[in-house]
């Protein structure tokens, strides 16, 4: 009984690693630009489709597919950024943007247009490879490692460790480096960042590119375990990533890891208790709780905050 409980928790933690890795880019975009990119999942999905196409039609080796997925995610992300975000980020004067329902009007514009691009990217992917299931290069390990009485799949452990590594590397870089400080400063007070001589527009383009590259890394890592990709992958990335990022506080880099792990463990236990629908239900229940309960509205742990390590 205790062993079962621990085994489910371990499985949940490993799932949580995957959630953290897909949430990282979303949190970075939100923290850095104060924009929610709804096309984020679709970007990862289309990049994965191009990888699947290279794999299936061109018999490309695995390393080339991995490179192509990350590169395509950056190119598609750049397209999304030009269309949805570039035009909405110029500051006319400090806090003089027209508010809509209490929100900066340009945020609403960016949100709506990124939804439209999401639909567009999904259609492009479906036209490229019309079948629902498409083979993706598989790196899935067949065996399981026994850790005492617990079983651990090494491929999924690798993804979880990759997530933790990326999170801590990014967090350290934001905390310690001169450019990391400038990114946080720009996310915090854009006009003051200008006045301090920071290249605000260039930083925002870079933040977006890094977030998209991360979505490519996440897509490859997750799909290489599944060995296949469907059009639903975009929705999965956006949903799980968003919940993980929000649980940890949008904009917080380390928070994404804790958020992802929490989501993974809760989902795993919900599934063992209530089945597959219980798993889905627990995702939304957790999101609801985090939005309604005001337990971490402090300075550092703000639910919607600027970029922080």
């Amino acid at each position: 009984m205790v062993i079962d409980f621990l085994q489910i928790t371990v499985d949940g933690l490993l799932d949580g690693g995957a959630y953290a890795i897909v949430g990282l880019g979303l949190s970075l975009t939100f923290g850095g630009l104060r924009r929610l990119n709804l096309a984020y999942g679709a970007t990862a999905m289309l990049a994965a489709y191009l990888g699947a196409w290279l794999h299936g039609q061109m018999q490309a080796p695995v390393w080339l597919v991995a490179l192509a997925v990350v590169a395509c995610a950056i190119v598609i992300g750049w397209y999304v950024e030009r269309l949805c975000f570039a035009g909405t980020r110029d500051e006319v004067a400090p806090s003089r943007g027209a508010p809509i329902a209490g929100v900066d009007g340009r945020e609403v514009v960016a949100l709506a247009s990124s939804f439209a691009i999401w639909m567009q990217l999904e259609q492009v992917a479906v036209n490229l490879l019309p079948r629902h299931l498409n083979p993706f290069p598989s790196l899935a390990a067949s065996g399981e490692w026994a850790l005492g009485p617990l079983m651990v799949r090494p491929d999924r452990l690798l993804v979880a460790l990759l997530a933790a590594g990326l999170v801590f590397a990014l967090a350290m870089w934001l905390e310690r480096s001169r450019t990391g400080l400038a990114w946080r400063a720009t996310a915090d007070q854009r006009t003051a960042a200008h006045l301090s001589g920071m290249p605000v527009a260039r930083q925002q383009t870079w933040a977006f590119a890094v977030a998209c590259a991360l979505s490519g890394v996440a897509a490859f890592a997750v799909l290489s375990i599944d060995g296949q990709v469907t059009p639903m992958f975009g929705m999965w990335v956006l949903l799980k990533g968003l919940v993980a990022a929000m649980l940890g506080g949008l904009g917080s880099v380390r928070g994404v890891l804790w958020g992802g792990l929490l989501l993974g463990v809760v989902e795993a236990h919900a599934q063992s208790l209530f089945g597959a629908s219980g798993r889905e239900f627990s995702t939304y229940a957790l999101l609801f709780l985090v939005l309604v309960v005001p337990w971490r509205r402090g300075e550092r742990g703000a639910l919607f905050g600027g970029l922080r390590a």
Partner: protein
């Protein structure tokens, strides 16, 4: 040091500056007075490169600044302490100072200057690792001044440093301005608090509705009709 000629800046179709000409001399405190909506902050944001003027020129030590980016202007040696302070609220006091030195690469010099700022503003030293958003208004104003000084400007632009502060704190801010001036920093100051500003300034301008309407030296013109009518006589909104 700073020569502004026929500068015009608009928000969309609304022209906030309608051809402003004035100058600030090296080693002096120059003060710009005027009621709300006169265009003072627009002028400051134009000088800092945040707003793009439609016409006119602004020369700093002979070099044209119109068309330069905020980063280039900071590099030339001009830094703005913006209206409402605009500290980085989620960064610590030390990180705010580091951010102000973004354009500099001399790590040793930056470290020395941070210590120098803590010497000048002891209250910031006590709050080194505190988030700037948790500071009081007066402390935030000191931090904003210190952050601007971290870029080692030859001309410091200050936009309403006393606004919203208690009288004692205002006096403290002005004593800092006086001290900076005595150390040779040139200052271009926008103020609503004319009584205090005229005490520290060597030269002043009066701005109304996007134009400079008057200029002079404080001693000779304290009771002048123009200032009385346009400014000093009015009660400031609480």
């Amino acid at each position: 040091m700073l020569e502004i000629n026929d500068l015009a800046t608009a928000y969309g179709k609304i022209e906030a500056l309608k051809g402003v000409s004035l100058s600030a001399r090296a080693g002096e405190v120059t003060c710009l007075l005027g009621p709300n909506g006169a265009g003072k902050s627009t002028l400051m944001l134009s000088l800092a490169g945040i707003l793009k003027p439609q016409r006119g020129s602004m020369k700093f030590e002979g070099e044209e600044l119109v068309g330069k980016s905020p980063a280039q202007i900071v590099e030339r040696g001009m830094a703005l302490v913006p209206e409402n302070r605009l500290v980085f609220p989620a960064l610590t006091v030390r990180e705010n100072l580091m951010a102000g030195a973004y354009k500099r690469r001399d790590m040793g010099g930056i470290r020395n200057d941070i210590e120098a700022m803590f010497g000048r503003f002891p209250r910031l030293k006590e709050r080194t690792d505190q988030l700037a958003g948790t500071l009081s208004g007066g402390e935030q104003q000191m931090l904003a001044v210190a952050r601007a000084l971290m870029s080692r400007p030859r001309l410091l632009l200050m936009d309403e440093p006393s606004v919203g502060l208690a009288p004692l704190v205002v006096a403290e801010i002005f004593s800092i301005i006086r001290q900076l001036h005595s150390e040779g920093v040139s200052i271009f100051l926008v103020e609503q608090n004319a009584h205090m500003a005229l005490k520290v300034a060597q030269h002043f301008y009066l701005m109304e509705q996007g134009r400079v309407s008057f200029s002079g030296n404080p001693g000779e013109l304290a009771d002048d009709d123009v200032i009385q009518r346009a400014y000093l006589g009015q009660k400031r909104a609480a």
